[in-house]
């Protein structure tokens, strides 16, 4: 059984070792970019089927952001929607034989979480100013500053580990069952993986929204308690 935590480079691009998740991510980027470019090439006021699906996606993302943040979703739409789409496609890329989801490796999840962290800080500073954003760490009093700083780090870690553990465990369990039982037995587990992957993509996106919303607007409580309204 392979070590799920280590990565072997497939090839080297100059001094840079290129690993499988990077290649898969590039493929996903290429597919998503081409699909988006082709799908949005001819948009009309009377939408076809594909355009209806795209508009449904965009309006759903918008409504989620609006519900969570009570704000105009326009500045956050691209980031949240892209993260959701990428995590969803990456989780589901396990369906293609021979491809391991990039999110089953810690680096990809860490990269996504870092992007979210950076976006949180950037949106917070943009929304409140540098002083205003830093002042949010002193709420409700200056005693909470270490706790708030630690919370920033731990919730980013929990974001990383949640996605990584779910996807990786799915892949891992499927691999174990496959090595034990053979051909058709892992299929229910793979179906469960699909559900888990979709739910995890949704949770990742919602948590990112909550973090950014907390940084931008009124400071929210801990992320986990902010899941009161989940219409979808």
């Amino acid at each position: 059984m392979d070590n799920p935590l280590s990565l072997e480079p497939l090839f080297h691009l100059g001094p840079v070792p290129i690993t499988a998740p990077v290649v898969v991510t590039w493929a996903i980027m290429l597919a998503l970019g081409l699909f988006a470019a082709l799908a949005t090439r001819r948009l009309s006021l009377t939408p076809g089927k594909l355009q209806t699906v795209l508009e449904l996606l965009v309006t759903t993302v918008d409504s989620q952001i609006r519900d969570t943040m009570q704000r105009d979703p326009a500045p956050f739409r691209a980031l949240i929607g892209s993260i959701f789409l990428f995590v969803l496609i990456a989780n589901w890329s396990a369906l293609i034989p021979g491809i391991e989801p990039p999110t089953a490796h810690l680096e990809t999840d860490a990269a996504l979480a870092l992007v979210v962290l950076a976006a949180t800080i950037a949106y917070g500073i943009a929304g409140r100013g540098l002083g205003g954003y830093l002042a949010t760490f002193a709420e409700p009093s200056w005693v909470m500053i270490p706790l708030n700083v630690v919370e920033q780090i731990t919730r980013t870690f929990s974001l990383i580990v949640r996605l990584f553990g779910n996807v990786m465990s799915g892949v891992f369990v499927v691999g174990i069952v496959l090595s034990l039982a053979g051909l058709f037995v892992p299929i229910p587990l793979m179906a469960l993986d699909l559900l888990t992957g979709a739910v995890q993509a949704y949770i990742f996106a919602v948590l990112a929204t909550v973090f950014i919303g907390a940084a931008v607007g009124e400071s929210h409580g801990p992320a986990g308690q902010d899941q009161k309204d989940l219409p979808r």
Binding site: R162, G165, N166, M168, S169, I203, L230, P231
Partner: protein, 82 residues
């Protein structure tokens, strides 16, 4: 023997972590599902919203077990003492 002992302890620790780490989320998921069933029985028209929320909540709870699984895997495959 020392290296073997560390490996044995690591495997035991991983098994203990996963087994005990599964207890809490299992109870929590049971309560969550029970509450969701109760709610659906009271309000069948809200079944769609409830089940969606239930799935998300179960995933959040499951994450706790996943954490222990990650720790177990770390212990098994990325043990710094081996």
């Amino acid at each position: 023997m020392t290296a073997n002992l560390i490996e044995i302890v690591s495997i035991l620790a991983a098994a203990l972590a996963v087994s005990f780490g599964a207890i809490g989320p299992a109870l929590a998921e049971g309560r969550a599902v029970a509450a969701a069933m109760d709610a659906i029985a009271r309000q069948p028209e809200a079944a769609g919203t409830l089940s969606r929320t239930l799935f998300v909540g179960l995933a959040m709870i499951e994450t706790m077990a996943i954490y222990t699984l990650v720790i177990a895997l770390l212990v098994l495959f990325a043990n710094p003492f081996v």
